[in-house]
């Protein structure tokens, strides 16, 4: 198979949970979106948990192969994984959106909704300037001003 270009490598075979994932996560933070990280890890706990956690943060496992007792993973760095609470439910966004972009992402029109960000109702004029960050709590309320 045509293997992607590898931008960084990491050997986490000496480590145990949660350091295995922490090192992978720290390495991924240094890369750019689309970059490929090669990780060598052990079977058992590491191969069970690391890929799952990596996916949970919005990255992609491009390849996984077994080499003897060890495993080799290729991870494509995903967009900036943004964890928010949307109307009380956990939601994972692939990047940091402005309020306006988020509204459009849900195929809504900005003048149909009222946005409550971390307990504060936003003025419509600010929708383009405010960026939704990880940890934010967003309530998307229909203001009933449908035209």
């Amino acid at each position: 198979m045509g293997e992607s270009k590898i931008n960084a490598m990491l050997d986490i075979t000496p480590d145990i949970c949660p350091v295995t994932f922490v090192k992978t996560k720290l390495k991924l933070e240094q890369l750019h979106k689309g970059d490929i990280l090669e990780v060598i890890l052990n079977g058992g706990e590491a191969i069970k948990n690391v890929p799952r956690s990596v996916k949970g943060e919005g990255h992609k496992i491009v390849m996984m192969e077994k080499i003897g007792e060890k495993y080799r993973l290729l991870i494509e760095k995903g967009g900036y994984a943004v964890n928010i609470k949307l109307n009380g439910e956990k939601e994972l966004l692939d990047k940091e959106y402005t309020v306006n972009e988020l509204i459009r992402e849900y195929e809504l029109s900005p003048d149909m909704v009222t946005i409550n960000l971390n307990g504060t109702v936003l003025l419509r004029e600010t929708f383009d300037n405010i960026i939704i960050k990880s940890g934010d709590s967003v309530d998307l309320l229909f203001s009933g001003k449908d035209k």
């Binding site: 996560k25 720290l26 240094q30 964890n83 971390n118 940890g135």
Partner: protein, 273 residues
């Protein structure tokens, strides 16, 4: 992110959190926090902030460790009785995490030194043992535009909220004046169940970490009133007062000389550490 192997392991349980990561850990490591007092509130707050890796912690306390402190001031132990609280505290904090730079001030916080001391820090934690110091710190923080994490405990109750100058109310908006000395409880009325200081001090520390991380919703404009007997946290909406003498439209307290510090005896401790 250039963390040492030791740091990666030490902070692994928080770096794994999506809200923290290497970027957040770096922000914590670069944080500069002043804790006023190493008593009931300051002890748990300092201990956990140092554990989390806050890079620089200032501690200011004039007192020495007394046997009666040990019921709640968990940084000090029986063998520390008679030692300076700042020395005893610093020893425990460095033992916990040698990564942290602990700056100790063995002095009282006064109108003369407060401005210069708080200037070196991003945020200030209220662990004061008297109303006068607490109000003076509130005023100085508002004037210096520093975030002040208020906390207080008495009996089975505690209260806390976060003061972000310009964003929400300050302590004077809510309480207006330190109570006159006669109404400040006497020694027999200053009982507190030690764990209360832990609960409130750690809410303050939590707020500090959230602030450093830039995550979540700070306790601004909302005061948490905790009643341990009912085991209830009530949230009280508190508003910025346009007539507030410090942060209002026409402030009358504008400099350190305006603090009224006389009149409160130090033995008349209240809602404090």
């Amino acid at each position: 992110m250039d963390f040492s192997e030791e740091q990666i392991i030490r902070y692994s349980r928080q770096i794994v959190l999506p809200e923290v990561g290497g970027i957040g850990q770096k922000r914590i490591n670069e944080g500069r926090v002043l804790i006023i007092g190493t008593g009931g509130l300051g002890s748990p707050a300092a201990y956990y902030l140092v554990a989390a890796g806050v890079g620089t912690i200032g501690i200011i306390d004039y007192d020495v460790v007394d046997l009666s402190n040990l019921q709640r001031q968990i940084l000090h132990t029986t063998k520390d009785i008679g030692r300076l609280k700042v020395d005893s505290a610093k020893e425990k904090l460095i033992a916990l995490n040698p990564d942290c730079n602990i700056v100790s001030y063995h002095e009282r916080l006064t109108a003369q030194n407060i401005k210069e001391i708080i200037n070196d820090y991003d945020v200030i934690v209220d662990g004061a043992d008297n109303f006068a110091t607490r109000f003076m710190a509130n005023d100085a923080c508002v004037m210096a535009n520093k975030i002040f994490f208020h906390g207080g405990v008495l009996g089975f109750t505690g209260q806390t909220f976060t003061i972000v100058p310009g964003k929400g109310p300050c302590l004077r908006c809510v309480l207006r004046e330190p109570p006159p000395p006669v109404s400040v409880p006497t020694c027999s009325q200053t009982g507190v169940l030690g764990v209360l200081a832990g609960t409130i001090g750690l809410i303050q520390a939590t707020e500090v970490l959230k602030y450093l991380l830039g995550k979540g919703d700070l306790l601004v404009g909302r005061l948490i009133a905790y009643d341990a007997l009912d085991m209830r946290f009530r949230e009280i909406r508190v508003k910025k007062d346009p007539d507030c003498p410090v942060c209002g439209d026409n402030p009358t307290i504008t400099g350190p000389d305006d603090y009224e510090l006389a009149g409160i005896c130090r033995t008349e401790k209240e809602r404090g550490s």
